[in-house]
């Protein structure tokens, strides 16, 4: 069975050029980037080249990039780091305040919740039906003790893109640090830390065709950041631990490819995505694209097929060779109700009836055509057996 992969928001395959760039660093070029000798110097040079590529993708300076183990570490480091640093610098006795949203990834939500337990106040901004936060609500949420706004750039489930430039202006006006989880936007749409007035940004390698286990944080020069890990002096002490040279080289190469191919990838992928959406909506009654009219990443589509169980649809499609997803998976692999779909106002039954397709650089028109055959057939079978969907009576009976 030739499998079709429409789950690129979960992870992407390593680009062949990325793999090629990494391979020497496992054996021949194995040096420790902190070593004095030639082996070390060559590793150091590779790491610094990668840093330049990541910086270029974000319109940042290389020294503002810190490599990490991935998006989760980057989010933790940014949020804990800046809050702890502001806390210790503050002379006031009131506890610091953070603003975030109700549709963040768990790496942000659970970090904020951990801070709440330590006495930090957190505001979780609601979002509209389109999945966007309201700027006026953001302004109203600001307090004198607000130290950080952390809002994701593109949402993993819906693809909706927040107005980062406007949010960044508000943060700057109030002299509040501004962090974004850009894991789902980097490589898909332009990201410019200066235009967005960002102080901190998280990104992940494996979402942009680099391997798992590597990511980065952008930290604007001068931003006080408490370190998470203690150890050697690697990465100016911000992130001790021997650098994952091969992974970092892979991330650098992936950033370079993303920067060069973004302009051609985005329109091609969004045309395929639109073809998928139109095809599914026209073939499947009682289906609806969530946040359809919001600005969205070109590759993401979240669709509700009323009356079905999204979890069953994912399994049925996987058995036919089509990989897509619903919500966020927990450790056992079972599906949990999506907090994002709930936040945009979907009733529980509709949230359960929703699945996400996320296309990638290698997705072909033939694959979309195959999906347009597989999905309607699977939805029809589910609805036939559904206890809640009675409108459609099968023509075969």
């Amino acid at each position: 069975m030739k499998r079709i992969y429409l789950d690129h928001n979960a992870t992407t395959p390593v680009d062949p050029a990325v793999l090629e760039a990494m391979l020497p660093h496992f054996s021949g070029e194995f040096g420790n980037a902190s070593s004095i000798h030639t082996f070390g110097q060559r590793a150091r040079a590779a790491v610094e080249t990668a840093r330049e590529h990541v910086a270029a993708l974000l319109n940042a300076r290389p020294q503002e990039i810190i490599f990490t183990s991935g998006g989760t570490e980057s989010d933790n480091h940014a949020i804990f780091g800046v809050t702890a640093a502001s806390f210790s610098a503050s002379t006031s006795s009131s506890s610091p305040h953070i603003i975030t949203s109700s549709i963040e990834h768990e790496a942000v939500l659970n970090t904020c919740q951990a801070l709440e337990k330590q006495g930090v106040a957190v505001t979780y901004l609601p979002v509209s039906r389109k999945g966007l936060i309201d700027l006026e609500t953001l302004r109203e949420a600001m307090r004198p003790e607000t130290v950080l706004i952390t809002l994701m750039h593109a949402n993993n489930e819906l693809g909706t893109i927040q107005l980062l430039a406007e949010i960044g202006s508000i943060a700057a006006q109030h002299d509040v640090y501004f962090h974004t989880d850009a894991v789902q936007s980097v490589g898909k749409i332009p990201v410019d830390v200066k235009a967005f007035h960002l102080d901190l940004l998280s990104l992940s390698g494996h979402k942009i065709y680099a391997p798992k286990g590597v990511g980065a944080i952008y930290v604007k020069g001068g931003t006080p950041l408490r370190q998470l890990l203690y150890g050697g002096h690697h990465q100016r002490g911000f992130r001790p631990g021997t650098e994952n040279v091969a992974g970092i080289v892979g991330l650098g190469k992936a950033a370079e490819i993303s920067r060069l191919s973004l302009d051609s990838d985005a329109p091609r992928i969004s045309a395929l995505r639109d073809h998928l959406e139109q095809g599914l909506l026209s073939r499947i009654p009682d289906s609806r694209v969530n946040a359809a009219t919001a600005p969205r990443t070109p590759n993401t589509s979240n669709i509700t097929f009323s009356g079905i169980d999204g979890e069953a649809l994912i399994i049925a499609l996987d058995l036919k060779g089509l990989a897509c997803s619903t919500g966020a998976a927990c450790s056992s692999g079972a599906v949990e109700p999506s907090h994002v779909l709930t936040a945009i106002g979907l009733p529980a039954a509709e949230a359960r009836a929703s699945i996400r397709f996320s296309l990638g650089r290698c997705t072909s028109a033939a694959e979309i055509d195959a999906a347009l055959e597989l999905v309607p057939a699977a939805v029809a079978r589910l609805r036939q057996i559904s206890p809640t969907y009675k409108k459609e009576v099968s023509a075969h009976h």
Binding site: D309, A312, L313, A316, D318, S332, A334, R381
Partner: protein
């Protein structure tokens, strides 16, 4: 018969059914063996493991170590996945936490608090495994659902009715927990272990090198991590914001004579002898729980015995509801030796059971299941 002979002759009809079969996999040796058996018979299968209960809930019930050998623990999910990987078939974890809480855990707690002695496994079978799980199995393209239950299904060709039968291995028989199954559920279910003994199952599991071949049996309620269900009920009720009031009260005889004090009616079960906190000349047993008056009623062994009682929510499994009383052997708890008597259908999904001789501790909340030989005639909840 040798194991191999059993394996060559799965329950009638099993081999003839075409199409994909979903196997409900707990991660234990029984359901894993079902998967291996069906594969050996050339049947295409997909494994489904239900996530039923979040073990992170009610953390006060966790022991020091990780929860082990419970049907909902992550270890069991991984075991099921290892088996699927070992035998190369697709496997998925499916989330039924909400249904499990609504249809199994909550009724269990409510029954208990009403002074009854509930069984969770029957509800789980009738309302979760053979309801939403079976439906999901069909939705994903499977025609049927196979489980590791020790019981048998047979189609009566004259009446066209599916019959539920005791397992060949009486010591493992689980038909007592399956009486709630309706015809539509039975018609799409398979119990491939029904003809096998536990030893044969283990032997087969070893012969195909199943990674769970030596795994011990799980004995406790799967959602009670430490086996202490009284503690569980207290913790659950507390989480619901309605903590159980353990109100002390009187332990009385049937004529109202106070013999002692109890620590809260929920801490007693019918037939209990030990731990009453007082002694009389003769053995004294709990006869009834009276939560309304906060009393525990006790008496001698002969008062614990009864001949006739009613059951409710009756399901006539293998036969149509009869118009005349039938002879039957009736089991009133899982480990009860079936006793001879009559079963008579009553209006409103009820039935009356009359034993030939009095039986001990007929306990409200438990099920009574009536058999004719190996065939399950009917079951219902003891009122």
């Amino acid at each position: 018969m040798t194991t191999q002979a059993h394996l060559d002759s799965l329950p009638a009809g099993t081999e003839l059914q075409p199409g994909l079969v979903a196997v409900a996999m707990s991660g234990g040796v029984d359901s894993s063996t079902v998967a291996a058996l069906l594969l050996q018979h050339g049947r295409p299968i997909v494994g489904l493991t239900m996530q039923l209960w979040n073990q992170r809930r009610l953390p006060e019930l966790q022991g020091d170590g990780p929860a082990q050998h419970r049907c909902c623990s992550l270890d069991d999910v991984y075991d099921a996945k290892r088996v699927a990987q070992h035998l190369s078939f697709p496997h998925y974890v499916v989330n039924f936490e909400e249904q499990f809480e609504q249809r199994v855990v909550r009724p269990f707690v409510e029954q208990y608090l009403a002074g009854r002695t509930p069984i969770a496994c029957t509800n789980c079978n009738t309302d979760v495994k053979f309801e939403p799980l079976l439906r999901m199995a069909r939705q994903i393209g499977a025609e049927r659902l196979a489980t590791g239950h020790y019981a048998r299904i047979r189609k009566n060709e004259t009446t066209d009715r599916y019959q539920l039968l005791r397992a060949r291995d009486d010591s493992k028989d689980q038909s007592y927990f399956l009486w709630g199954l309706r015809q539509d559920q039975l018609s799409r279910s398979e119990f491939p272990l029904g003809e096998l003994t536990k030893e044969e199952v283990r032997h087969f599991a070893r012969s195909v090198h199943l990674p769970v071949a030596e795994k011990p049996e799980s004995m406790e309620l799967c959602f009670v991590p430490n086996g202490n269900y009284v503690q569980f009920i207290h913790a659950f009720a507390r989480e619901e914001g309605q903590p159980v009031q353990d109100k002390e009260g009187d332990i009385v005889t049937e004529d109202g004579t106070v013999l002692g004090r109890h620590s809260g009616v929920h801490n007693y079960t019918i037939g209990q002898r030990k731990g009453l906190g007082f002694t009389t000349g003769k053995p004294i047993y709990v006869l009834a729980i009276d939560p309304e008056n906060n009393r525990v009623i006790v008496g001698e062994d002969n008062a614990l015995r009864a001949t006739t009682f009613e059951i409710e929510t009756v399901n006539w499994v293998s036969i149509e509801e009869p118009t005349v009383p039938l002879r039957a052997q009736v089991k009133i708890r899982h480990k009860h030796e079936p006793a001879a008597g009559m079963i008579e259908a009553l209006p409103g999904l009820r039935a009356r059971i009359t034993f030939d001789s009095p039986q001990r501790a007929i306990t409200p909340g438990q099920a009574a299941v009536a058999y004719n030989g190996d065939i399950v005639l009917a079951g219902g909840w003891i009122k």
